[in-house]
Symmetry: C2
Subunit: 393 residues, 2 copies
Amino acid sequence: MINFEYYAPTKVFFGKGRQHEIGSMIAEYGFHKILLHYGSDRIKKSGLYDEVVQSLQKADIEFVELSGVVANPRLSLVEEGIRICREQNIELVLAVGGGSVIDSAKAIGCGYYYDGPVWDFFEAKASPQKTLPVGVILTIAAAGSEMSNSMVITKEEGLVKRGINNNIVRPLFAVLNPELTYTLPPYQTACGIVDILMHTIERYFTNVKDVELTDLLAEGLMKSVIEAGKRVMRDPYDYEARATLMWASSLSHNDLTGAGRQSDFASHKIELELSGMYDVAHGAGLAVIFPAWAQYVYQHNPSLFAQFAVRVFHCPMNYTNPIKSAQAGIRQCQEFFSSLGMPVTMAELGVPNDKYEEMADKCTWGNTRKIGNFVELDKNDIIEIYKLAEKRY
Amino acid sequence: MINFEYYAPTKVFFGKGRQHEIGSMIAEYGFHKILLHYGSDRIKKSGLYDEVVQSLQKADIEFVELSGVVANPRLSLVEEGIRICREQNIELVLAVGGGSVIDSAKAIGCGYYYDGPVWDFFEAKASPQKTLPVGVILTIAAAGSEMSNSMVITKEEGLVKRGINNNIVRPLFAVLNPELTYTLPPYQTACGIVDILMHTIERYFTNVKDVELTDLLAEGLMKSVIEAGKRVMRDPYDYEARATLMWASSLSHNDLTGAGRQSDFASHKIELELSGMYDVAHGAGLAVIFPAWAQYVYQHNPSLFAQFAVRVFHCPMNYTNPIKSAQAGIRQCQEFFSSLGMPVTMAELGVPNDKYEEMADKCTWGNTRKIGNFVELDKNDIIEIYKLAEKRY
């Protein structure tokens, strides 16, 4: 186990009907005026918008609205949010939505107290020192942004997507009601399941030894996500399965499963270029990339991959040849993603094979950096992984 | 899964040598003057006191000392601490020690802002609204107070021991260096191991259904504590095992393993009367009481006890008669406690059998309340459990 810091201060209000308490929660924190931040009309159609507004009004919480957050949330909307918050003396930003809305709210919160352009944070020209508090009503179990220290924003000019990690941006509170995810389309639910799993998988494959406690916590989380994932694909109204996914989404990215380990996150970086160049969902891209990454690197530590196979996917352990178990685990994982309706090859994702070099070049900043910690990967390695992503195992 | 709130805001600084950073940590939080609160000379003999003082001086942190915390921390010292903090304009209470020192610091912190006698909190006459921040340098892995919302204080007059739970008292930060526990006597280490396990066990046995995610997290925690416990009894200088115990002590009582469940805590209440009447260590008392409690209640849900046996203690599952597995698990658990050098019967604990009725009477407030949630227990039930605690299974 290596030295670490753990900090997950977000207060979670979990369970059925909790969105009806939003007004009194905010009042209890002592806030009177908030920015109500969300994406599309989906929350109006579902009735959530009305429930939130009623609860706010009942508690005499004044609110200003800013909608229009899109997937890969845009800088211009963040800047508009900052302007509104300053003009209106907003005290808290309430994000009603998923990872994109939360990230947008986080950027507004930090930008509020910063004198320069908020994009400075994403170019490492400045570091956020203070933020407006951010509250969350979560509508999709996936990104884990509701408890995480990360935010990703896209600058329209040149479509530059950048993320940072800073403990300042961890939300003050998050309302997690699994019922709010009942009506998600199956494809989005499945993308979320892959995303949740991947946040733990990226922390699981590490070179740090003697991390049995976090191994076991991570494996427990992954096993329950896999089981809940199967249940929810059969019955989207399965409360317990939805609840497992939602709580796991927070735990998978608040760093509980990374404590004392060095995480990898190469698959995320390789996928980023894929979804940057083609219009594919993050979770779907990860479903294609991770098995290929695993296929490329498992020989670095076949025992750890065998452990993953046996403990998470219930493969039999081949004690005389752990490599066989390692391979079986990768196959099982790919099959599981596929069973959710996820693409698992480049072809299924609709990605042609003629841009691998360009993507690998961008991913390594023009072949000037390596990515990943479990195995360090350069441009050529990444090209090989894109090629491996053409196959089923 | 039932609705729940989860709130564990304590920032953890984990790993080797972290106590040397205490001065700069406190400076970074913006504090200048603190109360240095600890127990006996043990931290002076070990050199920890000097390390802390040097680090504070280097960072220009002024400090006032208050030592003398004893096991079952006393109200009079808390009152003295409150007086000192007010007179000296203290900004943070730094607890250097284990659960007793931390609880004493928590009570000082809350009492500081309260107009009446601090004991009011423990008699439910008032509820803490605000606290001086509390920081921790942990020297024993056991109570979990470093991340928990609970504090227990003893009033000298009549030796009344009372505890409360309030999120206000969760420490601001905790420095967890497993090296600081190397020199603990084996008996104290073993008491800590039992205490850590019991904080999760008390949450594990629940009537709430569909809690597989927390089941798996709890089982992972328990399995690693059992393995680390065995290692540390063989080699007290095993860093990784000490690290597992220390991190598990925090996770076991910050409510991670209780999320979405109804916890029981009957064993704790039954043990409280035992350690109240006889001078026995809390962990040792629990090692005697839990197997007896389990023996008394397992038929309420043999399958859950069988799961505990199979998943935590690796007993074979008897599918045709799960009761056999349930019983094997209770035996295994008792044997594990015994293997740590813990007493597991009343005789080994040195407790005579003539006060069971009196203890059960106190535990049920003169037979006016029941305790426990998994199975509700009245005075007679508790007497039976004390009797069952005379045996090995």
